[in-house]
Symmetry: C2
Subunit: 609 residues, 2 copies
């Protein structure tokens, strides 16, 4: 039943060699690796406006200088990530770079931040995508949470199927988004130039505003930095490029920076020029689209591709999270389960963890994940900063050719990243303080897990040169709990007798009459197996069996006897039948396994109907 549903949803299992590492040409790589970064344009400018709106609409002209600041930051980031690309052609995730250059704990800080970051990528992007849909179709607004959760569920399923195969399809929405925004910007500029926009739609640059101060400007700037989330994606995926991979990746990164910068500038300028004000029910991009084109077909096209690219951006979280979890798990910082590829070659556990976590976040915030954007941005800038710092250490240590110029670039990058982190914690402490709890908690847990695996490894290690001790005198005692005389019991007895000379059947009765009846029947049956009957004041077979095993163990302690309990298990024809047979019995005996240290053999009994 479950199995069938799973097959339908996930598809047939794949062989390991079906895992083909398809190399991407630059154009396709650009599309696939930049959806996260480019889609940030859909909410970045609006984030700045939201902060400015807390002062007055008059303050909206500050959008322009703030955007210039963001663009400068973008250039610095692109330059310093180009350095990382050439230094780590195998893919320089922040976890790797920080771990290698700054030590394990800094690596774990980066890793922990990134895990949160990817969860937030999914929650924020999908919520923003849902906003694009509900802006276009206001009647859907009350169903924001349902739509967002549904989208995450679909992305999760697609990823469990193994989405990478169909990568080409994923490229189109990105091209379409760039195309749509380009038309939007050109159209908007044309109308602005031809004077179709009322002159009083925006305040003049330099208009004095009461209540504006450096704190607010920095706060707005840090909000705008959310438009830069995702620029690191290309540097993590260098092996996917055609040779010479680092050069191609660096080139693609620059092109992406150029596109991101252009779209961001265009949207920011138009938002200023058209005097767009943030609204709870319509995104800034939607307002811009309907101001420029009216609600015609092209407006809906913009909304559709915006929603699509945001969903794709969420999807990048689904590529990155399981891979990072895999790397952490390989290094023993996360449960080993994250290293297992599922039937469809995807790291299913990572995908499911990410899907569930982001669904929980969306539900907890009722789809208003704009409150999460600051935290998301912090989650991005912590690894940014650590990567840059790691590079600085690397240059100083290894001093390669031309290392000073490289050092300067990364120094600048690190400086700006730390500055932005400080701005975040100063201006948005109420949104980001949780990171100060969560990241240390992550590291604590990572370390705990690591030490457990190390401990286990120590306990299990074996000296190959020592002689294998056969323990020839091992005796086996097989216990068969019986509840009556049935074919299942017969099968269990036959099996038990084939395993050992010492087989004991145990019957637990709740009255002396019951026990006498059973003993008589047993005698008549002539199995050749001794029946031990226990009169129990408790109803529990486990408790009686447990005591019985204690007695047995006491008696046979010196001889090194191993005790095996035989547990018949009904294998039912129909899935729902399994609810009708005591699953509890199995759970209870599993407790015996744990507390009494006995072996338990499950003997399947196939029911015919």
């Amino acid at each position: 039943m479950f199995h069938k549903i799973k097959r339908i949803l996930i598809g047939r299992p794949l062989r390991t060699n079906e895992l083909h590492h398809q190399k991407l040409n630059n154009l396709k790589a650009l599309a696939i690796l930049s959806s996260d970064a480019l889609s940030s344009v859909a909410y970045g400018p609006e984030q700045i406006l939201i902060v400015l709106a807390t002062v007055s609409m008059l303050a909206f002209w500050y959008l322009l200088p703030i955007a210039v600041g963001v663009l400068v930051l973008l250039v610095v980031l692109i330059l310093s990530y180009r350095k990382i690309i050439f230094a780590y052609p195998g893919g320089g995730g922040a976890y790797m770079v920080a771990k290698e250059n700054l030590g394990t704990n800094f690596g774990l800080i980066a890793g922990g931040s990134l895990l949160i970051d990817y969860i937030l990528t999914v929650a924020v992007s999908v919520s923003a995508g849902t906003d694009a849909i509900t802006s276009a179709f206001p009647p859907f607004h009350p169903f924001t949470v349902e739509i967002a959760v549904g989208l995450v569920a679909v992305i999760t399923l697609l990823n469990l199927r193994g989405l990478t195969e169909s990568a080409t399809i994923l490229a189109y929405p990105v091209y379409l988004f760039v195309f749509a925004l380009a038309i939007l910007i050109v159209g908007g500029l044309y109308q602005a130039v031809t004077g179709h926009v009322p002159a009083n739609a925006h305040t003049a640059i330099g208009t004095p505003v009461i209540g504006i101060n450096l704190f607010l400007i920095l706060k707005a700037f840090s909000s705008g930095c959310s438009a830069l989330t995702g620029v690191e994606a290309i540097s993590n995926a260098i092996p996917n490029f055609k040779e010479p991979a680092p050069k191609n990746a660096a080139f693609t990164l620059s092109i992406m920076g150029l596109i991101l910068g252009s779209l961001f500038s265009g949207v920011v300028f138009l938002a200023y020029w058209y005097g767009i004000a943030p609204s709870a029910t319509e995104t800034a991009l939607s307002q811009l689209g309907s101001s420029i084109f009216g609600r015609n077909g092209f407006y809906y096209f913009i909304q559709a591709v915006t929603a699509m690219i945001l969903v794709l951006a969420a999807n990048t979280g689904f590529s990155a999270f399981p891979l990072l979890a895999f790397n952490l798990a390989k290094d023993k910082f996360m449960p080993r389960a994250f290293t297992i590829r599922g039937d469809r070659l995807a790291y299913s556990n990572g995908i499911i963890t990410l899907g569930l976590s982001s669904i929980l976040l969306i539900i907890a915030f009722e789809g208003h994940t704009e409150n999460l954007i600051p935290l998301y941005a912090v989650g991005v800038f912590i690894p940014f900063s650590l990567s840059q710092t790691g590079m600085i250490v690397k240059w100083i240590r290894s001093k390669p050719e031309d290392w000073k110029s490289k050092l300067i670039v990364n120094l600048l990058g690190a400086f700006i990243c730390y500055l932005i982190l400080i701005i975040f914690f100063v201006t948005k402490f109420e949104h980001v303080w949780i990171a100060l709890l969560f990241i240390p908690a992550c590291i604590f847990i990572f370390q705990k897990i690591y030490h457990h695996y190390e401990d286990v490894g120590d306990q299990l290690r074996i000296d190959l040169s020592a002689k294998f001790d056969d323990m020839e005198n091992t005796r086996n005692l097989v216990i068969v709990p019986v509840a009556g005389i049935t074919k299942v019991v017969a099968q269990s007895l036959v099996y038990a007798k084939s395993l050992s000379e010492d087989v004991i059947a145990v019957y637990v009765g709740s009255s002396p009459e019951e026990i006498e009846r059973m003993e008589k029947k047993w005698e008549k049956w002539q199995t050749g197996v001794r029946l031990v009957t226990i009169f129990s004041l408790y109803r529990s077979v486990t408790a009686s069996l447990s005591e019985f095993i204690d007695t047995i163990k006491e008696k046979t302690n010196q001889s090194g006897t191993k005790v095996t309990v035989i547990m018949p298990q009904f294998i039912t024809k129909k899935w729902w039948h399994s609810f009708l047979h005591n699953q509890t019995g199995f759970l209870i005996l599993a407790r015996l396994l744990k507390t009494k240290n006995v072996n338990i053999t499950i003997v399947p009994y196939q029911l015919e109907k």
Copy 2:
């Protein structure tokens, strides 16, 4: 971990002989068995008003004639249940009476209705109790659902602990409730007589009302019948009375009828006289209390004991549901799990099922379970009707002494019950249609379960006189999947070798190099066990193992070899460590058990740290 929490919440396990059947004296029995019936006074009269209010406040005087109708019905029910008490001194639940006299299917109709009924008892009573609380403390009104769910959770836990021990404590709230309502009624009447109530508070009896018709009056009447839910409780619990049990039970039933009738009449009369109108935020009883006494201490006392008795009424569901489920399960109509007494001698599965179902109902109806009252009443009157019908059949069949007068009483009872059912379905179809789906569905499921158990019984039955076939030539092949060379593997091999001569270790590698490395190590180890290595294109050990088992089985088919797979299981020191070891491996091998029909032995390996 789970175990510890369970112990704290549920308490230590009890012995079966701690199950003492404490006999109740009449006074205590009255209290314990009538909380369900008496508490109905808290919502019954209001239900009539709600229907009348749909016409006009002028129609409120109809409350009085309708109440007379309900009282007549009460008398008939009490009389006919007295007959049932003497005919079924062992406890005459509707399921038993209907099954015995009308056949299994009618028994199942009664059983199915009662199961719903008990779930609704809990949901409705707890919601009404919560209303009593929020009427007294309006600021709690927004938290209705949370309070109600919390109450159900507490009752569930108390019942899992085994509530019956503390039965004496449960008696007091009932006495207090009767006392409080008596004071309320006396106080109200005094004020009414002394003219403290404005004369225009109520309309005169006989005032003509536009829009009233027979349909509405019948609808209001059927609503009032909800005040009679719970009158059957005493007849189900006769064995709990002191000897002569039937006589004592019948006497107690009559007293209960008297009290119920008096309280109901008093509340109805005062509600009419004070012109109480139904309100969404305050119960009629609360309005009455505050009109008569103001919001003084005594008012709060009334609200408190009302809430308490309603919670107690819910608790009766928790006594009845698990017992009925037990009876149905004993007759193979419900899963056997319902026959198992938990650690504290309560039928835990029934209690948990009931608790969860009623919590789901409360959440689904957002605590407004007044919409469920009609369905609840139907759920009560279907078994009422079937009991009466069963008694009619019994009298006609067995013709005991004085059978004609007995027959007349039950005929009258049956007639009125069917009449009320018809009124329900005619006047409140929109609330009760679901019963027409749910009850047949119940019976369908009951029968399905029954046939499955019968089928299984047929398959398992053994002929004791036939010779026990030992199958001397059974060979055992033990397969030990190994992932490396560790102490766990060593332990598994020693155990495997003690079970059989034929032990094969299986290693699944994903590259030829891996396999070569393993083979070399194995050779060096000198265990005397043959290692089979499998190169797998899949990652899954299960798939490879599964194929391997198929091959083995093919080869050994004729010789009747039994295959056992050894599964080491880490037993961790700390509960959270268990998440760090592949639980999936265990689940996957459980699939082998099912599909490949092999025995699986779990060998515990205790980790020291």
